[in-house]
Every structure is written in structure tokens, then in C-alpha cells.
């Protein structure tokens, strides 16, 4: 028994601390200072498991919000601190449980719904010790010696914009609230239902409507002295020059609207007071629609001293001076007008005065077919001949002609490539008979994509098939045939063969003796056996 009690004492007092045996677990870090047996009743109450009253005795800011029905705790239906903030689970246990997570916490439960840009912020960007303004929180924080309340609390923020945001208007709109102009989607721009036309003395018209606010409401050193502030009131807007620079240095007076509208400065209202037609240079044609700055480019651009005689005062010479000749009128309007550079005034008639008068098929060609090569304008060629535009399709044929620059014209005309002036009778093969009727391509066929004209084989067999299967190999076709017609008109069997036709033989059809021979695949003309018995039997003869 003595040993048992000794063991009991050893177990109770030596193996573990007594405190650990009476506490259900370590308190979480925020309550760590309440650890110890003597502190149980700081939170617990005799006879009641409801700890909420004791919680609120310490957490006075929460009590205040519950009483005033403010914030998350003020909107709770049931007061049960332990239901959410359980303890005795461990020192590292987080006593605030976010549902579903801190980032996705439904902020509307606090009575302040997050909208617009506020939804994208991290909690700490607003719940920051610098933004805490509630006096009770600040007072509570000062009273807590052991905890940095301001760094951890989510309480104490104001719901007014200015509690977090700097008043960039430097107290300019003290009689208004921020949401009169702004909303939470974008701080940078005023809300769309703000009507500048009705709510101010400066209705926005023309280009003013699409301007960013800060173009007029500039950020300047604040008149109140603190920082750069964007000003919305007290602006001078009576004259255009209050905002805009006078490019004319006052030479046209102070009423800009005489010439300009609010749509754009770049366009002058010609039907208004200012009329360019009354100037030294009335605008005609394309000049009417040209942006002013294209001509008025210089510093004193509205007081140009140019005589406006030469187009080149404004326009660059796209032809790089090739038409500048000392012996003629070099002005642009020889070919162009102010109605547009295109089409030029230089036409077929004017082309007659050039080295290359247009005729034939050339008359129907658009200018750029000749005057543009590799996307570059071309107006001069040296030497000027067919080859500057046309490539030869004859290869190395006609070399003798090619020595001459205009050798194409030896055969072709400008009316049509196929309208030839070529005289075949001047060749080694004058065309006669049926050959005259044939298309050129019937004899001049393509050889490696170049139609063969020179050195064409003039033998009959080049174009015609030998239907006699070489029976007349030792003879010329011309011995029997002519170019007039293929059929032999008069064949003298007497002189031209060794078998003269006489007697009854004269009346015979050729085919009765000259028969189709399958072996030859043609009619056999020679040699033909010409003994009587070769054709006749004994009974065939009559006296």
C-alpha cells in the first residue's frame, strides 16, 4: 500500500505537469496569456457552458458591435462565440475560421458588400492598421499589452471612401459624396450617369465629348498646398485659348469658332467666317479635302509666303525630274490636275508627241502595263523597242533579225501578234497548193516550248505519213503527188511503170489489180507480178 501511494504521487507530480492533466489542451496563441490553472475562470463560468458573456467582457469591441448591430458580429442571429471560435485545440490553432476561405468570404455578412474593384483586393489591402479609424478599436488596441491588435483585427474600418482612399480633389467637393461621381468599378473615371452638359456650365460638344477628363481637368500642384490634385472647379473656360494654344498668335482674333468647330481643329469650317477661297490660293479639287497641316506645316504655317506657282512647292516630284527638260514647259499640270494625280491628263493623243506613238493593241492597254515594272514607275527606256515590254518567244531563232532593234516588226504588227506580215515565199519553202490554207502551227510545232520556225524540215515525210509502207522508198512523193491535191490526177501507167495498160486493161479500176494486202497493211502497188497467169486462169480468155 505504501508503494502504491508513492507510485501515485510520482505519477501525478513528476511524470506530467499537473496543469496539463486538468486542461483539455493548450490555448491558442491569442489566448496563450490565459494559460494556467488560476485562469480557468477568466473564461469559464461556474454552472454554465455558455462562455459568450465572458468572451465579450474582454472583447469589448465585439460587444459594442453586437449591441449596435454593426458589422459581421452585429448581424449574427445567435450569440455563440464558441460555435466559431473554439479553443484548447493547440497553440497554433487558428481561432478564426473563414467559410469557405478568407479570400472567398462573403463580405456582405459584414454589412458592407464588396463590389467592383473591391472584389479584386486582398483582405490586407483594406484591413490595414493604417485605415483603422474606430476609436473603440484604437482604444482597445492600446489597452492590450500582449497583442498587436491593429495588425490582426478586421474591425475598425470606416465605410466611407475617404477612410481608405485619398481625396485627390483636395477637399474640392466637400459638399458631395464620392459616389455622386464615382463607383466601385473604376476609380479613375467618373460614373457614366454624370452629365457634364447639365451638371456644369460647360456642355461638352464635338471632340470635347471623347476627351479624357484629365486633358482639361489637369493635375496641378494643389492650391490647398498638400499634393498634386486634379481640379474640377474654378477652371477658366470662357475662351478656347484658356485651354488651347493659339497657333495663329492672335493674327485671326480671339474667336476661334469663326473658323473652327469643336469637332476638330484640324478642319476649318470653310463655309463659316473663314473662307480659303478668298486667300491667295483658293482651294480646288482635291485640295478642298486635304488636312490643313499637310500644306500648313511650318511654324508660321498660316502665313505662308509661298507663291503657290509650282506644285513642287508642296508636292514631291514622283518622277524624279525625268520630265524636267529645258526646252519645254515642265509644269505638273501638263499631265496632272488638282482634281487628282490619277488619272493623269496625259492620254493617247499626248503620247503621239513622244517617241512611241500608241497604235494597234497598244491603244487598249492601261498605262501601268508599260509604265510600271517591278512595282516601280518607268517612263523612259533606252533603247526603246519591243523588248522593253515584250519577251521573245522565239528563243535563239532569227539571230540575223535580232541584230536590228525593231526586228519584231519584220513579221508582226501592233494590231495583233497573230496579224503577221511575214512572207513565206521568201523562204526556202514557198507555200503552194494546199499548204497555203494550212495553219502555221500545222507545220511549225513546239520544240521545248519554242515553236520551231528556222531550219524546219521541209521533206514531205516530216508532216505526212507514208501510206505506201515504203513501196516507193526510192522515189520522191512529188513524182506522183502535188501540193494542189493529194490524189494523183493523171498517172501514166505506160511511162511510169513497166506494165503499160492496154486493151481491156485500160478499162479496169486500179483496185482490181492493186489490192489491199494485209501483210503490208496498205494497197500493194509494187512489185506486182504481171505475167498473164498471175491474174488469169486458162478459161478466162475469150477469143
Amino acid at each position: 500500500m505504501r508503494f502504491s501511494f508513492l507510485g501515485l504521487l510520482v505519477f501525478l507530480f513528476c511524470s506530467l505537469r499537473l496543469e496539463a492533466q486538468l486542461s483539455p489542451g493548450p490555448l491558442a496563441a491569442p489566448h496563450a496569456h490565459l494559460s494556467g490553472l488560476t485562469n480557468c475562470l477568466t473564461c469559464h463560468t461556474w454552472g454554465s457552458k455558455d462562455l459568450s458573456p465572458k468572451c465579450l467582457e474582454c472583447h469589448t469591441p465585439i460587444q459594442t458591435r453586437i449591441t449596435e448591430e454593426l458589422g459581421f458580429h452585429g448581424n449574427l442571429e445567435e450569440l455563440d462565440c464558441l460555435g466559431c471560435h473554439i479553443d484548447h485545440l493547440d497553440r497554433q490553432f487558428e481561432m478564426i475560421h473563414w467559410e469557405p476561405s478568407q479570400k472567398d468570404f462573403d463580405h456582405i455578412q459584414t454589412g458592407y458588400e464588396l463590389e467592383g474593384k473591391h472584389l479584386m483586393l486582398n483582405c490586407g489591402e483594406c484591413h490595414n492598421r493604417d485605415f483603422i479609424i474606430s476609436e473603440d478599436i484604437l482604444e482597445y488596441a492600446r489597452s492590450q499589452k500582449t497583442a498587436d491588435v491593429l495588425s490582426t483585427t478586421f474591425l475598425g474600418l470606416g465605410s466611407e471612401c475617404a477612410s481608405c482612399h485619398i481625396d485627390v480633389h483636395a477637399k474640392e467637393f466637400l459638399d458631395q459624396t464620392c459616389d455622386d461621381c464615382h463607383d466601385e468599378t473604376n476609380w479613375e473615371t467618373a460614373r457614366v450617369d454624370y452629365d457634364h452638359d447639365f451638371d456644369t456650365n460647360f456642355p461638352l460638344r464635338g471632340a470635347h465629348k471623347i476627351l479624357d477628363c484629365e486633358k482639361c481637368h489637369t493635375t496641378t500642384q494643389d492650391a490647398y498646398g498638400d499634393f498634386q490634385a486634379q481640379r474640377f472647379s474654378g477652371l477658366n473656360y470662357t475662351l478656347c485659348t484658356d485651354c488651347h494654344d493659339d497657333e495663329h498668335k492672335g493674327s485671326f482674333g480671339s474667336d476661334c469658332l469663326k473658323c473652327h468647330t469643336e469637332n476638330t481643329f484640324k478642319q476649318v469650317e470653310l463655309t463659316g467666317v473663314f473662307n480659303h477661297q478668298r486667300t491667295r490660293y483658293p482651294l480646288v479639287g482635291k485640295h478642298i479635302n486635304v488636312e490643313c497641316e499637310l500644306c500648313h506645316t511650318q511654324k508660321d504655317r498660316y502665313n505662308l509666303t509661298s507663291s503657290f506657282d509650282q506644285c513642287s512647292d508642296c508636292h514631291a516630284d514622283n518622277h524624279e525630274g525625268i520630265f524636267q527638260k529645258p526646252d519645254r514647259d515642265n509644269s505638273c499640270d501638263q499631265c496632272h490636275s488638282v482634281r487628282g494625280f490619277f488619272p493623269p491628263l496625259f492620254g493617247v493623243i499626248e503620247h503621239r508627241n513622244t517617241r512611241f506613238e500608241l497604235d494597234g493593241a497598244h491603244l487598249a492597254q492601261p498605262c501601268i502595263f508599260c509604265h510600271e515594272q517591278d512595282f516601280e514607275p518607268v517612263y523612259q527606256w533606252e533603247p526603246l523597242n519591243c523588248h522593253v515590254c515584250h519577251a521573245t518567244i522565239h528563243g535563239s531563232q532569227f539571230l540575223d533579225y535580232q541584230q536590228n532593234g525593231n526586228w519584231c516588226e519584220s513579221c508582226h504588227r501592233t494590231s495583233d501578234w497573230s496579224d503577221l506580215t511575214f512572207d513565206h515565199s521568201a523562204t526556202f519553202f514557198p507555200l503552194t497548193g494546199k499548204h497555203i490554207e494550212m495553219d502555221c502551227s500545222a507545220c511549225h510545232i513546239s520544240n521545248m516550248e519554242i515553236i520551231q520556225y528556222e531550219d524546219t524540215d521541209t521533206s514531205c515525210s516530216k508532216c505526212h505519213i507514208d501510206v505506201h509502207s515504203q513501196q516507193f522508198e526510192e522515189q520522191s512523193c512529188k513524182d506522183c503527188h502535188s501540193t494542189e491535191k493529194w490524189k494523183i490526177p493523171e498517172f501514166d501507167h505506160f511511162t511510169q511503170t513497166s506494165f503499160s495498160l492496154d486493151g481491156q486493161h485500160e478499162n479496169l479500176e486500179c483496185g482490181q489489180c492493186h489490192k489491199f494486202e494485209p501483210k503490208l497493211n496498205t494497197i500493194r502497188f509494187k512489185p506486182i507480178p504481171h505475167e498473164c497467169q498471175d491474174c488469169h486462169s486458162f478459161g478466162d480468155f475469150k477469143r
Binding site: S4, L6, G7, L12, L16, L22, P24, G47
Partner: protein
């Protein structure tokens, strides 16, 4: 004999009831018990049922505490002379053991298996008492006792052994040589230490069934024991063997059993104290279950 079986049946019945209850309870509370301790309070509905202060959880704790207090009736019965005639001490011990095993089990469910702080200390103390109780029961069984459960003196043990040997000689005609051979199965362990004695005790227990079968087969063959006497013969031989072995390790078992109290009892007292504190504290702080 009949009454002992009756108690066994009651314990089996109670065990089945508790087992069924715990299986059903485990199935119902599985989701809650599988949730990390730090997150359980978020399962408000289940926490209200299966949490330590929940309707069922607290009820199970109440039952565990009740069984824990019932344990002490065995101690009271053992030490209070006025109760000496009330039931056999060995039967009381069965209930004591049953309570000692079931109560920690129920306490685990009551604590929702959160074994930290006060509950944790008490729980591991309970487990220590339970394990030491099992060891103690083993040793307890090796100390020869009278039918009323009280320890036999060495004289009583020797008288019992002599009686059994005489029975073997007189009633079954076992020869003196075979008796000697039979007695030779139990080695003499004079002068060995307590731990070695306990080791031999365990070896005896393991080997005894084999030894018995060998002897019985040999004796049955050579002495032709009739079927009517076979059971009695077997019991006599077994008791003789058991007694022989237990006499040898009796000193060591008695010594260890005496020291075992030093472990078992302090923990038991600690549980009693801490449990009482636990109940007082929880009731004081308003956790009164259904009352």
C-alpha cells in the same frame, strides 16, 4: 460450478451488447471521427451528437464513468471483511476485468479519440491499468488458490500435490517408477532469479499441452484406463503437472505479483482521482449532459 458459468454467460451477453452498440456507434460517427480534431467543431450537427459534450458522446462518457466506478466494487469486496461471503472473489474479478477493459474503450469514444490534456492522461493511465491487469490476471492464475479464491499456503499446496499423486498410484495403479518419471518432467529451478523463473513459467505454459498428451498416451496404453475414469484420470494428471510447475515458480510469481500492485494500483488511484476531478470540473462548467 453452475454459478460460475452463469456469470460467464452474463459477461458474454454484456460483451455482445457493448460490441453491437460500439459497432453501430462507430458506423454513425465515422465521418465525425475521421475529421481532424481541429475541424470537428465545424460539423455542428455531428459535434452536437458525437462530440465529448454531445448527446451521445457525453452519454457514452457517462456510461464509461459508471463502469469505472463499478470497478471499485471488486476492491471493496476484496478488502471489506463484511462482504467476504458475498459471491466468489474469482467471479468478482471477472466483472472487475470486464469493466476494466470496456470502460477505457467507451472512454475513447467519449473523447472522440482525442487523447490530449486531462482526457489523454486519464486514458493512457486507463490503458496502463488495463494492460497491467491482464498481466496481473495471468500471474494471479499461477498462484494456487482455494475454491473461495484465497491463496493456498505452501503446506496446502504440498498436501494437494501429495493427494493427487496418491490418487494416481492407488486408483490407476501407476508404478513408482512412472511417478518419478512423471515428476521428472518438471525441472528443479533452485537459485535462479525472478525474471528467469517467469520465463520458465511462460515456457511451462507453452509446453504443458504437449507434455500432457505424451504422458496420457503413454499411461493410457500401458495402464488401460477405462472410459469411465478417463476424464478423472486426465484431470488428475494435469492438476498434478500444473501444481508441480507452479510450486517451482511460486516464489517468483508471488514476488512479482506483489510488485505488480505497485504499478496497477497507483494508476487505478490516479484514474479515480482524475476522473473525479474531470466530472467535478465538467459539471461545474455546466456540462451536465441531459440533466
Amino acid at each position: 460450478m453452475i454459478r460460475a458459468k452463469f456469470h460467464n454467460y452474463i459477461i458474454i451477453l454484456l460483451s455482445l451488447l457493448i460490441l453491437t452498440f460500439l459497432v453501430l456507434y462507430s458506423i454513425q460517427s465515422l465521418g465525425y471521427l475521421n475529421t481532424p480534431v481541429e475541424e470537428r467543431y465545424l460539423l455542428k450537427d455531428q459535434d452536437a451528437l458525437y462530440g465529448p459534450s454531445g448527446l451521445y458522446g457525453h452519454g457514452v462518457g457517462f456510461l464509461a464513468a459508471f463502469l469505472m466506478f463499478l470497478l471499485w466494487f471488486y476492491i471493496i469486496r476484496k478488502h471489506w471483511k463484511r462482504l467476504r461471503g458475498v459471491g466468489r472473489l474469482s467471479q468478482w474479478l471477472k466483472y472487475h476485468m470486464w469493466f476494466g477493459i470496456v470502460a477505457p474503450l467507451l472512454a475513447g469514444y467519449h473523447a472522440a479519440f482525442k487523447f490530449e490534456g486531462l482526457i489523454g492522461v486519464m486514458y493512457w493511465a486507463m490503458i496502463a491499468v488495463m494492460l497491467s491487469g491482464i498481466v496481473g490476471r495471468y500471474l494471479y492464475g499461477h498462484i494456487p488458490r482455494r475454491r473461495d479464491g484465497h491463496e493456498m499456503s505452501m503446506k496446502q499446496i504440498n498436501t494437494e500435490r501429495a493427494s493427487k499423486l496418491r490418487s494416481l498410484q492407488m486408483e490407476f495403479g501407476i508404478s513408482p517408477d512412472d511417478i518419478k518419471k512423471f515428476q521428472g518432467l518438471t525441472p528443479q529451478l533452485d537459485g535462479i532469479g525472478t525474471l528467469l523463473s517467469l520465463y520458465h513459467l511462460a515456457v511451462f505454459d507453452v509446453k504443458r499441452r504437449y507434455q500432457l498428451n505424451q504422458i496420457l498416451k503413454d499411461f493410457e496404453t500401458r495402464y488401460g484406463v477405462s472410459q469411465q475414469n478417463l476424464i478423472f484420470f486426465k484431470e488428475t494428471v494435469e492438476k498434478q503437472l500444473v501444481m508441480s510447475q507452479r510450486v517451482i515458480v511460486l516464489d517468483a510469481v508471488s514476488k512479482v505479483f506483489h510488485w505488480w500492485h505497485v504499478i496497477h494500483k497507483p494508476f487505478a488511484y490516479a484514474i479515480f482521482i482524475v476522473l473525479t476531478l474531470h466530472i467535478i470540473l465538467t459539471i461545474s462548467f455546466g456540462f451536465t449532459w441531459i440533466f
